[in-house]
């Protein structure tokens, strides 16, 4: 029987190793699986690479994990959000690496990782600093950059409703990076607000099919 419902955050996060790349869904504060990310503080894995659109706000969630000093590198599109304090401090002190990626390229690289592609040519960033060191190719009269996939050892996402099969829906614009991140984790863990107890969700409404999800934890919203 398939039952992906984890009893606790600790159970869901068990086995995450030092050196892992951790993909984290969310944009700004919407859709960030804060409970799971804060669970990583307890979980204790070190030398992490985090991938998220931003780099944490305040001192909770991603910022709390950064503050442990156990994150080696941050890959994001916009680390300079209003209220972001921990990352800028660490970066200024030379205590963390940063790879800044255009937002659409970041999302597409994660999707490529999940979809088994070796890379893709995108027009985004041609003629900019983002192109430094990358192959530029003219295809059908237009220039493109070669961008490579991002895969995660772990992916953390925030869904809305889940079922025991790991199927997920999202809520409004909290969907954002979730579906692509969920595809790209070797182990994908979702925190959700509701677990549908009556079996499977409406198959037409599922956004992330359970094949992409390894564990689900219900959290208080």
């Amino acid at each position: 029987m398939i039952d992906k419902i984890a009893r606790s955050v600790a159970d869901a996060l068990e086995g995450i190793e030092d050196g892992s790349t951790v993909l984290i869904g969310g944009f700004g504060e919407a859709g960030v699986p804060n409970v799971l990310v804060e669970g990583m503080v307890e979980q204790g894995a070190r030398d992490l690479v985090l991938v998220n659109n931003n780099a944490g706000v305040g001192r909770h969630g991603i910022a709390a994990l950064l503050e442990t000093g156990r994150v080696r590198k941050m890959i994001c599109s916009f680390p300079r959000s209003v209220g972001s304090v921990v990352f800028p401090e660490l970066y200024a002190a030379g205590k963390i690496e940063l790879e800044v990626v255009p937002q659409g390229t970041l999302s597409e690289r994660i999707r490529a990782g999940g979809a088994g592609l070796g890379g893709f040519f995108t027009p985004t960033g041609v003629g900019t600093q983002v192109a430094d060191g990358k192959e530029v190719r003219r295809i059908d009269g237009k220039d493109y950059l070669l961008e490579l996939p991002i895969r995660g050892d772990v992916a953390l996402v925030k869904g809305h409703v889940a079922d025991r099969f790991g199927n997920l829906t999202y809520r409004k614009a909290a969907r954002n990076f979730g579906p692509s991140v969920a595809m790209a984790g070797r182990r994908t863990i979702a925190e959700v607000s509701e677990i549908h107890e009556n079996g499977g969700l409406d198959p037409e409404r599922i956004v992330t099919p359970g094949i992409f999800v390894d564990a689900v934890v219900k959290v208080e919203r």
């Binding site: 944009f27 700004g28 504060e29 919407a30 859709g31 659109n53 599109s77 916009f78 680390p79 300079r80 959000s81 209003v82 990352f87 800028p88 970066y91 940063l98 800044v100 990626v101 255009p102 937002q103 659409g104 390229t105 999302s107 597409e108 994660i110 999707r111 995108t122 027009p123 985004t124 960033g125 041609v126 003629g127 900019t128 600093q129 983002v130 999202y170 809520r171 409004k172 614009a173 909290a174 969907r175 954002n176 990076f177 979730g178 579906p179 692509s180 956004v207």
Partner: protein
């Protein structure tokens, strides 16, 4: 002496040029104001990179839903006919040329339409790109909304940008405090100017050489 348009007036002016039925992304910051001046008889679908088509007005105080924010991370609403989708699909819309227009702010625009709006090259600031590079290369039309000069009086329409680029040859038109300027094949062409400034006066505010369109018009905006 010409009285430059306020930012509200520039936003108003841009709004007049957005056609009924257009799919439009309004960049974070100043461009967001354009939404407030869209004529009532036009149905414009506003796109937000974080997976929304059909942005509505800000919610009333206390009605905020923090799962429904725009690219600037401010709470918004969804209009009837709007939809949610994931980030990768959202940028497929952007990159695939499905947006009719995107309005962006700018630090600098070159005579050829290069755009610099993400970095001043200041190494002490955290680098942060966001969705600007995708939008600059993806939307079918790129309108820039900006003042002609910086607060210190330095021109922002340059022969070449000195700041790091956001995109090459992507800007189609600049809406500014003194003029509306197209980026044509052979450089900037002034299409509209406010009362009280002539081409020479505008040229004082731009490094790149400006030309006046033959069908040049006067730009008037309501008090706002």
């Amino acid at each position: 002496m010409a009285k430059p348009l306020s930012r509200l007036q520039i936003a108003w002016r841009i709004a007049q040029d957005i056609p009924d039925g257009a799919y439009v992304n309004l960049g974070i910051g100043m461009p967001e104001m354009v939404a407030n001046y869209l004529p009532d008889d036009r149905e414009v679908m506003l796109h937000s990179e974080n997976g929304i088509l059909g942005l509505g007005p800000s919610p009333a105080d206390g009605e905020e839903d923090w799962d429904l924010i725009n690219a600037g991370k401010k709470p918004v609403t969804l209009v009837e006919g709007g939809s949610y989708f994931h980030h990768t699909d959202s940028f497929a819309m952007v990159r695939g040329g499905h947006l009719d227009l995107c309005v962006l702010g700018a630090y600098q625009v070159s005579a050829e339409g290069d755009l610099a709006n993400w970095s001043t090259g200041d190494e002490s600031r955290l680098p942060a790109i966001g969705g600007a590079m995708d939008l600059a290369m993806g939307a079918r039309g790129i309108y820039v909304m900006m003042e002609l000069c910086t607060r210190k009086g330095a021109p922002k329409i340059l022969e070449r940008c000195t700041y790091p680029l956001t995109g090459e040859r992507c800007v189609n038109r600049i809406y500014s405090d003194y003029a509306v300027i197209d980026i044509a094949e052979d450089g900037p062409v002034v299409r509209e100017t406010i009362d009280g400034i002539d081409l020479a006066g505008l040229q004082d505010k731009a490094e790149a050489r400006l030309r006046l369109a033959e069908d040049w018009r006067t730009l008037t905006a309501p008090d706002l």
